[in-house]
């Protein structure tokens, strides 16, 4: 019984961490799969969203849910502006140029946020109902983790439906699999990309706000967690919602378990795991065949 409680609380902790990774990373996977665009500034959108959400709650007195929606909308809007102004000029450029642009953008974001609000962590105070512990019958666990898991599952289900059952989802899938063919069939890739980019950045914003309880929120955020987001995308494969979902869960749970049982080396283990995995399957665990 004790063992069962142990495993349950471990899984819950790991899955909750995985959900945050999924929500932030899914947009990155889609935009990379769609255009082959290496957007290293993706974490920056998560941070921007997080900041909007915290500001909305602490200074404009909004509720958590309303603030999340606002964070999504504002970040998505900002990302569209940036996409049209900056990103769109480099679609056909070499990967190095894209990396330079987006890394530069990260530094601009870090500096702007520091200038406006200072270098310190932004405290996100959860609503009282989400604090504390909840009794799940077999185990008592922190309420917020459970809420996070439920939210992540809902979002994943929604995304899966949008991806598999709607016109636009079909277009994205087609474009990821074979961009030239999709273009010659009359699919407007540029418009598709803008929409995906906006949605992906908005989701990242949600992740920034929802994950702030675990990951914190400060100007260094986009660089601190970039590696994790990239690992999830690399393991999950490009342009796959389900792939990213499983990869995020896998990384979240593995990371949690290793940190708990092997804290001496567990924090670095995840990198070793990723290297081995990519040597074995360069296209990612859930990615299609490399083209």
């Amino acid at each position: 019984m004790i063992f069962g409680v142990d495993v349950a609380s471990m899984l819950l902790g790991g899955v909750a961490a995985g959900m945050v990774l999924f929500i932030v990373s899914v947009g990155l996977s889609l935009t990379m799969g769609l255009m082959g665009f290496v957007n290293l500034a993706h974490g920056g959108f998560a941070m921007l969203g997080g900041y909007v959400i915290v500001q909305a709650m602490n200074h404009w007195g909004m509720g958590f849910a309303v603030a999340l929606v606002l964070g999504f909308v504002i970040t998505a809007a900002v990302s569209v502006v940036l996409e049209r102004l900056l990103y769109s000029r480099l679609y056909r450029a070499a990967e190095l140029d894209q990396v330079l642009l987006t890394v530069g953008l990260v530094f601009v974001m870090i500096a702007s946020v520091t200038l406006l609000l200072g270098p310190e962590n932004q405290p996100l105070r959860l609503p009282l109902a989400l604090q504390g512990q909840i009794d799940l019958g077999i185990v008592k666990y922190r309420t917020y983790s459970i809420v996070l898991i439920a939210t992540g599952l809902l979002l994943a289900a929604g995304l899966w439906l949008a991806f598999e059952r709607t016109q636009i989802g079909a277009q994205i899938r087609a474009a990821v699999d074979n961009r030239r063919m999709a273009e010659s069939l009359g699919i407007n890739i540029a418009r598709l990309f803008t929409i995906t980019f906006a949605a992906g950045s908005g989701l990242a914003a949600l992740g920034g706000g929802l994950g702030a309880e675990f990951l914190g929120l400060d100007p260094q955020y986009p660089l601190k967690y970039l590696v994790y987001f990239l690992i999830v995308v690399a393991v999950g494969g490009l342009g796959r919602v389900t792939g990213v979902f499983y990869a995020a869960l896998l990384i979240g749970v593995l990371d949690f378990v290793l940190k708990k049982y092997l804290p001496q080396g567990g924090t670095a283990f995840i990198y070793g795991f990723t290297i081995l995995l990519l040597l074995w399957r360069p296209q990612g665990l859930f990615g299609g065949q490399a083209r």
């Binding site: 142990d6 609380s9 471990m10 902790g13 790991g14 961490a17 520091t114 200072g118 270098p119 310190e120 962590n121 405290p123 105070r125 604090q131 504390g132 512990q133 008592k140 922190r142 917020y144 983790s145 309880e213 675990f214 990951l215 914190g216 400060d218 100007p219 260094q220 601190k224 990371d255 949690f256 378990v257 940190k259 708990k260 049982y261 804290p263 001496q264 567990g266 924090t267």
Partner: protein, 399 residues
Amino acid sequence: MFKRIIAITTVLAATTTWAQAQEVKVGVNLPYTGIGAEFAQLVDRGMELYLKVNADKVQPYKITLVKRDVKDPSGANAKIAVQELLTQDNVDILAGWIYSPNAIASAPIVTAGKKLAVIMNAGTAHITTMSPYYVRTSFSMWHAGYAMGDAAAKTLNAKTAVVGYTDFPPGKDSLAAFKRSFEANGGKVVDEIPMGGAGAVPDFTPFFQRAKDKKPDVFFVFVPAGDHAAAVVKTFAALGMREAGIKLIGPGDITQDTKLQAMGGAAVGLITMHHYHADLDNPENKRFVEAWKKEYGATSTPDFMAVGGYDGMAAIVHVVQTLKGKVEADKALEALKGWKFNSPRGPIMIDPVTRDIVMNEYLSEVTMKDGRVFQKTIGQIDAVKDACKEQKIGPCAPK
């Protein structure tokens, strides 16, 4: 005409040499950007506040701060910054050092540069043995860690403890200090958990879950103050560890004043051992906190890092005055050995043997008072020396 030119030149030359004799350049190395930016601001403000409030004590000399950004706790950037301060800016005194790895990496350069170097935060105990020019106005991890081990066993009557620490030199130091005195007093450390590095705040949930499973009486945590500390308190509350009968204890990093109000009710019940918190009840501290709020805003608060910078600057001003503006390292060290000062943290002294600080330690409990989070002093130990060097343990033993 010719005479006049000569006269003017002589006067000019005279005034410039006069002005040079008056100016003392202090080379400050702090992580002004990056994860430590918040800490740098506190130490920087502490130094500036001392100079501003005590402008009359600095007269007739002029202290110029040359500030360099060391960016991170890696050590490499700090080493470069210190070297540049010495060779390019020709500073008379070095000051700063938030992170221990930076002070450790800079030590050979400081020794080669032969300038007084005032450590204003970095707390790994043996740092001061690494260069004869290091003087520390902040603390050693052993000040709080060793005293806390004692208090945990005697005052809190704890039998078992789990130690969680950030895996870098001061973390290991804090663990060693706590463990030594706790176990000497009949306690037992049942688990030691390294919890990631200082460079980024990890999700503490897995580590805390592990600690909770061990069911100790107390959970001693050392993490760098700031965001690490805020996350620790949050996770401790969220995992229901207090309800499970575990007390969260540690050095004052986990109840850093700048983070305390945002922690809110989650922090209540925390017990810390430290040399400073803004709620300390002494006249010097009242003046200090008041001056701070006047200068930096009513919602801002000083903390132990700010005091490290404030007292460090007091030490520098003392040196400049004693040596009449001509700072030579060996004479400066002589001037500081045994120097006493009435600090906001209570009376302090620089130990003439170890060049480390001697100060009071306060056992405090977090409570609520008038709707704000308040640190209540529940115990005090006077004139505490760094136990690591006093007992000549490991790297603290003189070479």
